[in-house]
Subunit: 212 residues, 4 copies
Amino acid sequence: MTKKEAILTAAQQAFGQLGFTAATVKDVAGRAGVSFGLVSHYFGSKQDLYLAAAFDMADRLVDKLSGSTGGEGSGLDKVRRYMAAYFDFTEEHRYRFPILLRCSPFSHLEPGVDARRVAEKFGVFIDILKGCVEEGIADGSIRPLPREKTALIIYGNIVGSVRTSLLTPYESKGIFLDTIEHVTRSLERHPAAGGCWQPVEMANADSGTPDH
Amino acid sequence: MTKKEAILTAAQQAFGQLGFTAATVKDVAGRAGVSFGLVSHYFGSKQDLYLAAAFDMADRLVDKLSGSTGGEGSGLDKVRRYMAAYFDFTEEHRYRFPILLRCSPFSHLEPGVDARRVAEKFGVFIDILKGCVEEGIADGSIRPLPREKTALIIYGNIVGSVRTSLLTPYESKGIFLDTIEHVTRSLERHPAAGGCWQPVEMANADSGTPDH
Amino acid sequence: MTKKEAILTAAQQAFGQLGFTAATVKDVAGRAGVSFGLVSHYFGSKQDLYLAAAFDMADRLVDKLSGSTGGEGSGLDKVRRYMAAYFDFTEEHRYRFPILLRCSPFSHLEPGVDARRVAEKFGVFIDILKGCVEEGIADGSIRPLPREKTALIIYGNIVGSVRTSLLTPYESKGIFLDTIEHVTRSLERHPAAGGCWQPVEMANADSGTPDH
Amino acid sequence: MTKKEAILTAAQQAFGQLGFTAATVKDVAGRAGVSFGLVSHYFGSKQDLYLAAAFDMADRLVDKLSGSTGGEGSGLDKVRRYMAAYFDFTEEHRYRFPILLRCSPFSHLEPGVDARRVAEKFGVFIDILKGCVEEGIADGSIRPLPREKTALIIYGNIVGSVRTSLLTPYESKGIFLDTIEHVTRSLERHPAAGGCWQPVEMANADSGTPDH
DNA sequence: CATGAATGAGTATTCATTCAT
DNA sequence: GATGAATGAATACTCATTCAT
């Protein structure tokens, strides 16, 4: 790993734990094992570093979501695969993911962070999910529901459970799978049949092998 | 309004907008129209002020939720009334509520804030909701589901939609009512009948008359 | 004890322990069990209170030294009685005396304290001692030594041992009596005879009954 | 002189004049001609700077006292040389020495200063002096006296005269030499002979060439 | 007499940023 | 590429003092 990569990883962890304001450039440099001068040498200002760290994680997540929602399957299946991939990603990057909880349009952006650039970047997450919902309504696996709002509600559902799992002290083992079922029950057009969708697979359903 | 109350209200707004670290005591004093010395005179340290501001809002919300979930009705009804009351509260206190989004165990607590005191305070929100779920399972209005996790998922649903509505630039008009239906569809035991629950009433269903 | 007296006593203790700058008016009020407004009501500014507290102790000490050095006896005897009275006083007022260690021309006066008023007040201590030395030289009990400097050296001897006893963690039990002998050996004109002076009596030679 | 050294020297002067609480970091930076940020960059907190400044002077003084009390001579001679070296040091560093008057176990340590670290450091001064006294008692140049207490009394004598000279407005020219004679008369075993000790030499007997 | 609300100057400390090496 | 010396703006907090009740 180059020193530049080390700085980026350290920034993701530091900002994820402490937030933009409370994390310090010196702390990032310390975690990365480099002098603090090198941070600005590579990434410029603190805000630039923050966005670089967040966007790097966002890009990885977009890749994963795009990959998971492609291919065969009903729209409802794809919604389920989207959720599973999202949850999987949070556990895969347990220490680096939290920056996305902070640097997102669903969170309070701290002053000094350019909100427009963030909203633009994260619109993609909603768009991919909305595409799955639309597909499901078209193929009959999902009830006729308002597309945009339904995507937002599901996304809120996802983030809500991620927050519960990562941040709270409450007992939430297995909440990710339950959340997928919760959403499925609400969306599915033919609950009686029960066979309109495939079971999801999550690499790290309970504990997994997180980074670091 | 006494100056002490003015400081508390100003703190709720300032911390809600900017967060614990980024908000400054000077800013709070300025919003309240008092000298900054008076802030520490009444509330001590910044952290004490932060918790006082958050707990004041939490107490108000607990009162509202307790009141709304009492009385007649099925467990599913009570879940619906809980959600309606919660959403109502966010719109009623549009400028003072956000501190509860930040100072909660579902959020990253900024360094310097005592996490235990927060978790203890907010456990009540989950407990009330869990009580409604248990009641619904007992009276047959809600499917047999894991009680604790279901309460957490619903709570995550609520907070997810509040975040979408208050923080994102996405089009989310009416998302609160849709979220209630989303949760209802997922929980209800007899979807066919459709009559196990009563329509909810929200004082501020779309825009309302927020504070300030 | 009136509240005014309580404030003065509290000030002597607080300033003695913490010094002028580090002690606070609020702390003095707290020790005295009165509101801090009352302190300035009675004593005006912090500096005025400081000097009032110090001068009150100084006046008590001057009375004691004057009383002890009067009456019969050789000059050397009077020097010995002066020292004994001084040491006695420090033990009698163990918690209130230290302000005199701080507020004296032999100490660094903290900025904000009027040095002239202090030097004027404390000149009396040296003058009384110098009078004893002069008497001793005249009556032959003390060697012919420079009067002023000898008084200053003895006074330094006294204060040095008081500091050792009150402030240091070093083993110094009985140091007051040894200091008197140390000074006597240095001053006496006829050491061989050994009978030119009377034994001193100290009320609290080792531990005593200090105030508070 | 590097900026770091300049800060240390400035701190010695500022703390010596004003004391720990009253001296400000800003003042130290101003005297050293550097920005105040550099002070914490090099020395951390104000307390760390205070101890660094005091211990630097203490180390210099220990070196001087050790050097002066080594070599040939009776124990009484060594006590005299110890005193001469001590007095010499105070005049050599007239503006930087006073911090040792403040930051010593013989002074009130201001709140915020670690008393144990100070007591440990300054125990050496007493130990060296006690060594000389013991030597003198052994070789017969000093009367049989309690070793520890005698060392403490002499040390108090020294500090008393230093305080008189440096701090008071009283006429004290030549007091250092008189103090040495005062102590000598008290300690010497054979005053009649008068030849058991050598005359001391002080580099700066009256005014000298102080620093700065 | 007595209280404490209210003010604002002053201080230590943190930290992003720049720049010479 | 890499370091850390150097700066100064910003902030939480303390505290003496004033004044209305």
